[in-house]
């Protein structure tokens, strides 16, 4: 299941890559074409300089996208809105080049008008992407942020509609039939959106300053502040429109500061997680057969964590030459906290079991130790059985764990429903009772965690106990390894591509009896 999730992820990554690469190659080709529309020598020096700076801005944009893409592949950090922001800025730079190159070209007035319309539309688009990116840093839950977003979205729709209407009416700007650009009477109204946005971001940044690192504040401030002096200057010098080039430089700074910071944190966490996973894997006995010298039984177990580390565990060990203890357990919760609690539980249970006593006595002693200082309020469900190998006699106690399934020779698997005690670590005082049953030669016992019955398909249906026993009874006589593989395959087929959130653990013991040799 995990592998399929990864496959799905890879598919998304590949699609993102194809779209990004395709779009940008098209843009590069279009830029080359558009620059050849006009002999650059005939451009006024200030415009030629502007075109050159825009080109540099575009190249920086492509490089940022490339780095984002590499990050996505390597670290899995997806700065979606940041990438959109860069992409929209590249488009703005492209249309800016187009506008200057086509300026005063009579025959291109229509293309020029389209180009300028796209250029105008880039501004609100950049604003909305920056908003998404920014609110993902400060958090999107607050009422203030939600209200502001509603207004910005409304403003965005209005701006886009107005830009479209402007194509025909020319109130923001117009390109006459000589190909000459004129600023329209409502141009300040168009810019009002940007001003309002800048003001709101500054206010939010002050209110939520504690949620931003100092570097993030610098990067966001630069992004908001630097375009304004540039816009101010270009107001007086016709032929200069460098605000998007400056924006691109700010984005580069933001990429370096904010993203590397986040990415590094994530990388560190991932490294720690994988170390934790290998520690956890190391403590579970996992080289089968565990006891190759014992011919009286066959045992197999598996634990598949839903995340890198899990809260499930199993254990099997000999107390003395004739008594083997079997533990299957499930810690509530996930990730590192569950893994820590799992390690403590396993150690306490094993040590206490080695000291002797019945399963109920063992659980009764371990419970208060797990309860003590249990800050995270975690608990663990445990099935503990002690098998007398010479006779097949089993004593078991159950601390809130799933019913084991047992199959007597020539019969089918059935749930062994006995009295249950409370989960371990949940309450200070909890009582447990011992139950007993016999394993006769040819009998198999199957113990598992809720990951099996609670495996869920895409429609939210659970695998359930009925499907589980059905699966067990497909080949009831199978050796433990094959039995586990059958159940696992059925669970996988049932859930399909649906993501799973629970660890899945299974353990089976087939008893051959002390006199019989192990069959293969």
């Amino acid at each position: 299941m995990q592998m399929e999730n990864k496959k799905d992820n890879n598919r998304v990554k590949r699609r993102t890559a194809v779209i990004t690469v395709g779009f940008n190659i098209a843009l590069i080709i279009a830029t080359i074409v558009i620059i050849h529309i006009r002999d650059v020598d005939t451009l006024a020096p200030v415009r030629a300089m502007n075109v050159g700076i825009d080109l540099v801005g575009m190249i920086i944009g492509f490089l940022i996208l490339l780095f984002c893409y590499i990050d996505l592949q390597r670290v899995g950090v997806d700065f979606r809105y940041f990438r959109y922001l860069v992409e929209a800025t590249i488009l703005a730079l492209f249309t800016d080049i187009g506008a200057w190159v086509m300026e005063e070209r009579q025959e291109l007035w229509l293309l020029n008008r389209i180009d300028n319309t796209v250029f105008y539309m880039c501004m609100p688009t950049v604003v909305i992407f920056f908003w998404h990116y920014f609110t993902r840093i400060i958090g999107r839950e607050d009422k203030l942020v939600i209200t502001a977003e509603r207004w910005f979205k409304l403003g965005y729709v209005l701006e886009m509609l107005m830009c479209t209407a402007n194509f025909f009416l020319g109130f923001f700007f117009s390109i006459d039939h000589q190909g000459v650009y004129h600023r329209g009477p409502l141009y300040p109204l168009f810019m009002l959106y940007l001003l309002a946005f800048g003001a709101v971001v500054v206010i939010l940044m002050i209110i939520y300053r504690n949620r931003l690192s100092r570097r993030q504040i610098v990067a966001v401030s630069a992004y908001i502040a630097t375009p304004f002096p540039v816009i101010f200057i270009s107001f007086f010098i016709y032929g200069l429109s460098l605000n998007y080039a400056v924006c691109m430089l700010d984005l580069l700074v933001m990429y370096c500061i904010v993203n590397i910071e986040q990415g590094r944190e994530k990388l560190a966490v991932e490294k720690e997680l994988s170390t934790a996973a290998s520690i956890q894997e190391g403590v579970l006995p996992h080289v089968f057969p565990l006891f190759p010298e014992r011919k009286e039984f066959d045992l197999h177990a598996s634990m598949d964590p839903a995340k890198e580390v899990g809260g499930d565990f199993y254990d099997a060990f000999f107390i003395d030459d004739d008594h083997m203890a079997i533990v299957v357990a499930d810690v509530s919760g996930k990730g590192i906290p569950a893994a820590l609690f799992m390690l403590i539980s396993r150690t306490l249970i094993k040590n206490r079991t080695m000291m002797g006593g019945t399963p109920a006595e063992i659980l009764m002693d371990v419970n208060p130790q797990l309860y003590e200082g249990n800050q995270a309020k975690m608990f663990v469900t445990v099935w503990l059985g002690i098998i007398t190998i010479s006779t097949g006699h089993v004593t078991e106690a159950n601390a809130g764990h799933e019913y084991p399934a047992i199959r007597h020779a020539d019969g089918s698997f059935e749930l062994l429903k006995r009295k249950h005690g409370l989960v371990l670590g949940g309450m200070k005082k909890a009582g447990y009772t011992d139950d007993e049953f016999e394993l006769n030669p040819g009998d198999t016992i199957f113990v598992y965690t809720d990951g099996v019955p609670e495996a869920t398909d895409a429609r939210g249906q659970r695998f359930g106990m009925d499907r589980m026993t059905e699966s067990l009874n497909k080949k009831p006589d199978a050796v433990p390894r094959e039995l586990l593989e059958t159940v696992r395959a059925d669970v996988d087929a049932f859930v399909g591509n649906a993501p799973q959130f629970d660890d899945l653990t299974m353990l089976a013991v087939k008893y051959y009896g002390s006199g019989t040799a192990k069959q293969s």
Binding site: S332, K334, M378, G400, H401, F501
Partner: protein
């Protein structure tokens, strides 16, 4: 999929749950309880529309029960369906919770 309807009347907190209380839903309930339980002397859960719960949900219930026990408050569950009842039996929660 999961919904919480909470109502406070004086020091009685009523919480009705809808859907499936699983790993993803449990933090929402936990946050709500953390926020409201301090002022409550009685917590009433209505499980009429709760289909199922997993160990993550059990943990939240147990935490709430402990907290109510500590301050000698009352916590009760009503309209628990058979499937959830079986989980409570299996996990031993029937000994700890007050199910009406």
């Amino acid at each position: 999929m999961f919904n919480i309807i909470a109502e406070s009347a004086g020091t009685t907190l009523s919480i009705a749950l809808e859907g499936v209380l699983d790993t993803q839903a449990a933090p929402k309930l936990e946050a709500l309880i953390n926020e409201k339980i301090a002022d409550a002397t009685e917590v009433k859960f209505d499980f009429a529309n709760l289909e199922y719960l997993t160990s993550a949900g059990l943990r939240v219930l147990l935490t709430a029960q402990q907290e109510m026990d500590d301050k000698e408050g009352i916590m009760s569950l009503t309209n628990v369906n058979d499937e959830i009842m079986e989980i409570f039996d299996m996990t031993g929660f029937t000994d700890v919770l007050t199910i009406i």
